[in-house]
């Protein structure tokens, strides 16, 4: 019996939403880790019962939780994230040097093949890896020690490494993105890195086409075409057909090309989804209408998806890690809002309905398709 499990991280705990393949009736479990910020939780592709969660608060710091039974029970595992060597400085908002300091884990990315291996993207920006089920963590410091590291600056939400994409066709290839340094790629399992920001243009930084310094909000990839990347930048929706070596803008007819979330249809690598947000100072949909935009041509030509979504007086945001797809025959699309709603579409975005309406602000949404 097929089914889906939606893993929702919120400002005050984690929730697990489960349904069968019809995706009409939902069981809601939670809050897990009540009162804690859950920036992200994600399941292992190699073992769907193995889940990892990033749990933190400003009071008590960072914890990592692990489940071996699909989220029914959890155990705290390793939470020591120590930068390799002398951490040094990056640039602060005002351009002055600022010590590199760990704040939290934004994103957890389990290995495609081994449930005990996973990467963690953290603030201040760095990439860590565990090979023992998150008990111990080691920084892949080649990224932070990249020649430009000392010039990286935080975005408004902090200097966070928020996106980690593993290439299923090349096990040593990793893509990551940092706000506001940009996108980077490693072709040797994280030892060395190169910026992949050519073609990005960010008005408002001293050199709009600089090698680094771009506020990349999120990147998505279809596993069947790992050389094709789609990016929601601070402003601009972009695509790359050469694994990030160059980017072209595909914002096309979007009502605004600011936003955070972006994802790709599970079966149609040229069908992509974004949620346009009015602006960087007005973090809500234009005109009070919550609309997902879908392009079936890999960008430029976009259609508004509105059925079942509020079309008046809606002023929520959809954060960068808060959209995901399932891989059932009719692709399901899911996203969560800062208003606490988690919306689902079982028909690739044509029709939407809320699974839940009143959770704490949603920080992340991931989906597991269960066989």
């Amino acid at each position: 019996m097929s089914g889906v499990r939606v893993l929702v991280g919120t400002k005050k705990g984690a929730f697990v939403l489960s349904s069968d393949g019809k995706r009409e009736q939902w069981d809601v479990s939670g809050p897990h880790f009540a009162g804690w910020e859950i920036y992200h939780l994600k399941g292992s592709p190699a073992d769907p019962n193995r889940l990892y969660a990033s749990q933190s608060t400003g009071w008590f710091g960072q914890l990592i939780q692990r489940s071996n039974d699909g989220g029914k029970t959890w155990e705290p595992v390793g939470n020591k994230f120590e930068y390799d060597g002398i951490a040094g400085t990056h640039l602060w908002y005002d351009g002055t040097p600022h010590p590199w300091k760990f704040a939290r884990v934004w994103h957890l990315e389990p290995s495609l093949t081994d449930p005990d291996v996973l990467h963690a993207g953290v603030e201040d920006a760095a990439l860590f890896r565990s090979t023992d089920g998150a008990r111990n963590w080691e920084e892949l410091s080649g990224l932070r020690r990249h020649g430009t590291g000392a010039s990286w600056q935080p975005g408004a939400g902090g200097m966070c490494l928020h996106t980690i994409i593993l290439d299923p066709s090349q096990p040593d290839r990793i893509f990551i993105a940092i706000s506001a340094a940009g996108a980077f790629r490693s072709d040797d399992a994280g030892k060395t890195w190169k910026p992949i920001n050519r073609g990005l243009k960010s008005v408002g930084i001293p050199d709009p086409t600089a090698e680094v310094g771009h506020c990349v909000h999120h990147i998505a990839m279809h596993p069947s075409r790992p050389g094709v990347l789609f990016m929601q930048k601070h402003w601009d929706v972009m695509r790359s057909d050469d694994a990030g070596d160059s980017w072209q803008e595909v914002s096309g007819n979007l009502p605004t090309d600011f936003g955070f979330a972006i994802d790709v249809h599970a079966h149609e690598p040229e069908t992509i989804y974004v949620v346009p947000i009015k602006s960087d100072s007005e973090h809500y949909p234009p005109d009070g209408k919550l609309r997902v935009y879908r392009s079936k041509s890999g960008g430029n030509d976009w259609e508004a998806l509105t059925k079942g979504l509020p079309q008046r007086d809606c002023y929520v945001n959809v954060l960068r890690d808060a959209m995901a797809v399932d891989s059932l025959d009719s692709c399901g699309v899911y996203f969560g809002t800062t208003g606490g709603q988690v919306y689902a579409s079982a028909d690739a975005g044509d029709n939407w309905a809320p699974i839940v309406r009143d959770l704490p602000a949603v920080l992340s949404v991931e989906v597991q398709t269960l066989g």
Binding site: T57, G58, W59, F60, G61, L63, P76, N79, K80, F102
Partner: protein, 95 residues
Amino acid sequence: MELPAHLRTLAHVSGEVHLELRGEATVCALLNELEARYPMLRGTIRDQVTNERRPFVRFFACEEDYSHELPETPLPAAVVTGAEPFLIVGAMAGG
């Protein structure tokens, strides 16, 4: 000692925590023993790398503030005998 509610939940304890200290009874020894008994609390009260108290956590005992005392500061006799708790307190702030 007494823990804030979130840390009691994390450590699966209710009420006060009673610890046996070997050697000198200091603030640092107390925290070391707490983290040895409850490893899930490592990093939640003090930074695991620097051992610095987390900014939104304070220490009190016998109506005195121990938050800024050196780690090797002796615990008051009433805490050592178990007559008074050593309090670990999270800042009262919303969010």
